[in-house]
């Protein structure tokens, strides 16, 4: 049994113990985060002229750029987290249970990042919050995205995580230390009685059931942010919403795989997070990928046979023009994992390394695809014969996005260091009791 320097028994899962490696990790994230903050301050003082975004039309720009791409991406990632968590509850998938909390964590973190990304994308960020409370118009799909996804959905997932974590919090709260107050606060008097357990189980179940349609609605709404735009070629379409949901799943599951693999390694939890769990995740990813690839083929066919001039200009830009590297790069980053996954599924042999690589690739692809949905329809999709536009993110935007990732990593890291990311097991409970 490990003990801390001061002789107290160590908390399970390395909680509260910051090794030099972790210090280095926190320092690194803080440095990148600081860079992101510098970028944001630059943007706030100079105005959004500091970004690469410009008006659509005469200015030949894209007025939504990397930020909105990242919003869509982050919200997509959050989707899978909560879906997986919900599926685990609904279907009682026992071998995945250890993954549930990290999936929830992922959801919350990516939602927070998404919210920040939206805020930095607003010309008047603080007004964004106050006016949205004061004057929100539910008819606006943007409102839908903002309120449902960021507010409602973030709230729901926090509740979810909270409830799911109460028992562990109560256990942790028994342990003295700096984090005790935090754990106590979380446990909030939880006694782990049977009645409490059942109540939690039921709440979680119903919440899980309830969250699924919310998810679909939320992500479809996000699709509608684009899909309802008659004036933006490439956006208007019925497939937008389902494709959004599918790609959201792909990127989110990819993320869970990566996160699970990292935590498995960090905590030496090979026993807890089994290969079966990975194979389940792999298969799930494969199915989602298949669905998304189907949408993509349909999309490609539409692009190839695009008839209206503007659509043609847009598809040319995507397939052979300015955006071809990102387009085909993304396609490759989806097809390669698909092949790898299929091969593994057929061979019934799952390899964590390949899975992680697939997870990373599909996420790069997801970012690429989100970018391709957001940007080209603005630069190449004007219905009036404006000159073809161009957009490339400025250092400020890259800085902010890096900062967001750093923030995400920091939050995950802090969580891991302050709360059991894997539900506590009997032996760990024992150690706490000791």
């Amino acid at each position: 049994m490990a003990t801390t320097a001061r002789g107290r028994p160590a908390l399970p899962q390395g909680i509260g113990r910051v090794t030099p490696g972790w210090w280095a990790f926190f320092a690194a994230t803080l440095i990148v985060l600081a860079f992101g903050i510098v970028a944001i301050i630059r943007e706030l003082t100079a105005g959004m002229v500091a970004t690469g975004m410009r008006d659509v039309g005469t200015a030949g720009g894209a007025t939504w750029g990397l930020y909105i791409s990242m919003v869509v991406y982050f919200i997509g990632v959050s989707f899978a987290g909560i879906t997986v968590a919900a599926l685990i509850r609904i279907f009682d998938i026992e071998r995945l249970r250890p993954i549930a909390r990290m999936a929830e964590l992922l959801t919350i973190v990516s939602l927070i990042l998404g919210a920040f990304a939206i805020l930095v994308d607003l010309g008047q960020p603080l007004r964004g919050i106050t006016n949205l409370f004061g004057f929100a118009r539910p008819q606006s799909p943007f409102f839908g995205t903002f309120s449902l996804v960021i507010a409602g959905y973030l709230f729901a997932s926090i509740v979810y995580l909270y409830l799911g974590g109460r028992r562990d919090a109560a256990l942790m709260a028994k342990h003295p230390g700096r984090l005790q107050r935090f754990h106590r606060w979380w446990a909030a008097g939880y006694k782990d009685t049977e009645a409490e357990r059942r109540r939690h189980y039921q709440t979680s179940f119903w919440l899980a059931l309830g969250i699924i349609p919310l998810l679909i609605v939320a992500h479809s709404t996000l699709g509608f942010v684009f899909g309802l735009q008659v004036g933006r070629p490439g956006w208007y379409g019925t497939l937008q919403a389902p494709a959004f949901v599918a790609l959201a799943g792909v990127s989110g599951v990819g993320h869970i795989i990566v996160l699970a693999a990292i935590i498995r390694r960090l905590l030496g939890a090979q026993r807890r997070i089994t290969m079966e769990a990975f194979s389940w995740l792999g298969r799930f990813l494969m199915v989602l990928l298949a669905v998304y690839l189907y949408f993509m083929v349909v999309e490609l066919l539409t692009l190839l046979y695009a008839t209206p001039e503007v659509e043609k200009r847009l598809s040319d830009a995507l397939l052979t023009g300015t955006y071809a590297p990102i387009y085909w790069g993304s396609v490759a980053a989806l097809v390669l994992p698909m092949i790898a996954l299929m091969w593994q599924a057929l061979a019934r042999r799952w390899n964590v390394g390949i899975l992680v690589a697939s997870g990373v690739l599909v996420n790069l692809a997801a970012i690429g695809k989100r970018y391709l949905v957001v940007v080209p329809s603005q630069t190449h999709g004007t219905l009036l014969p404006y000159e073809v536009g161009s957009y490339s993110p400025s250092w400020v935007e890259y800085g902010v996005v890096l900062g967001l990732f750093a923030l995400g990593a920091l939050l995950v890291g802090l969580f891991i260091k302050s709360f059991p990311v894997l539900p506590l097991e009997a032996e760990e409970e024992v150690s706490v009791d000791a």
Binding site: A46, G47, M48, V49, T51, M53, R54, D55, V56, G57, T58, A59, G60, G61, T63, W64, D121, L122, G123, Q124, P125, R127, G128, N131, L132, G134, F135, A136, R137, Q139, S140, P141, F142, F143, F146, V225, L228, Q229, V230, G231, R232, E309, V310, R313, Q378, T382, L383, L384, P385, Y386, E387
Partner: protein, 248 residues
């Protein structure tokens, strides 16, 4: 209640861009903001070349996608047909700009004071401020500080502010005072006609009756208040020539 509309007569337009300039001065817009924009097109190959011009203000759509998507109601349509932006309400999400098929929205990417032709002109020069009292730009129009319409809201003409969207206001500050919009007023060949389309006796109503007006991007269903006569709807086969300095 009047219902305002504008006719653009492409058989009269000389592509001179006086309307753009009048709009800029009247509404004190900053560099590279063209609430009114005039396309100049070339088509065909030598010697079978054709040229055409196309002025493009905000279309003040009756079924305005920009209004629909605004999350906070900063973009609104008045009963008289004018579509405005409330600069005190706008959160700067730029959603209207994307929803609009016409590309007429302009966002304040920087502090307007820094964007009044800052390159080469220093309005803060003490010799200038001794004359202008430090007003930036020196031709700043005080009408924009007033409130307009039943709603008594400011309009984007008065709210050039960093991080806020703006666009053509149909010169609401002039129209409410019985004047023509600045672009219409200045057009050297009277290619722009403005007025109340609900009153059959206005020049614009007569124009609409006598000619066959068409709308820009009819297919998008936006139902614009701006109508075109003469010429033909633009296609991507047109090459735009002589673009102004449009990006800051």
């Amino acid at each position: 209640m009047a219902k305002y509309g504008m006719v653009v007569d492409l058989e009269r337009c000389q592509g001179c861009r006086a309307c753009m300039e009048a709009c800029k001065v009247e509404n004190n817009t900053t560099e590279s903001m063209f609430w009114m924009y005039v396309f100049r097109f070339e088509e065909g190959t030598y010697p079978d070349t054709k040229m055409s011009f196309l002025p493009r203000p905000c279309q003040h759509c009756d079924n305005a996608p920009c209004v629909k998507v605004c999350p906070v109601g900063a973009r609104y349509k008045r009963e008289d047909g004018i579509v405005l932006t409330d600069p005190d309400r706008c959160i700067g999400c730029r959603y209207c700009s994307l929803a609009c098929p016409y590309g007429v929205n302009y966002f304040n990417y920087q502090k307007p004071q820094d964007a009044y032709y800052a390159l080469g002109i220093d309005w803060e020069d003490p010799d200038v401020t001794s004359v202008t009292g430090g007003v930036v730009p020196p031709y700043k129009n005080p009408d924009h500080d007033l409130l307009y319409g039943e709603e008594q809201r400011r309009t984007a003409g008065g709210g050039h502010a960093k991080g806020v969207m703006e666009k053509c206001t149909f010169c609401v500050h002039r129209v409410e005072n019985g004047m023509l919009p600045a672009c219409v007023e200045t057009c050297p060949t009277n290619a722009l006609v403005f007025g109340d389309v609900s009153d059959p006796d206005t020049p614009i109503s007569r124009y609409v009756r006598a000619r066959e007006p068409w709308h820009l991007l009819e297919e998008t269903g936006t139902e614009p208040s701006v109508m075109y006569v003469g010429g033909k709807p633009p296609t991507l086969a047109l090459t735009e020539i002589e673009r102004p300095k449009a990006r800051v």
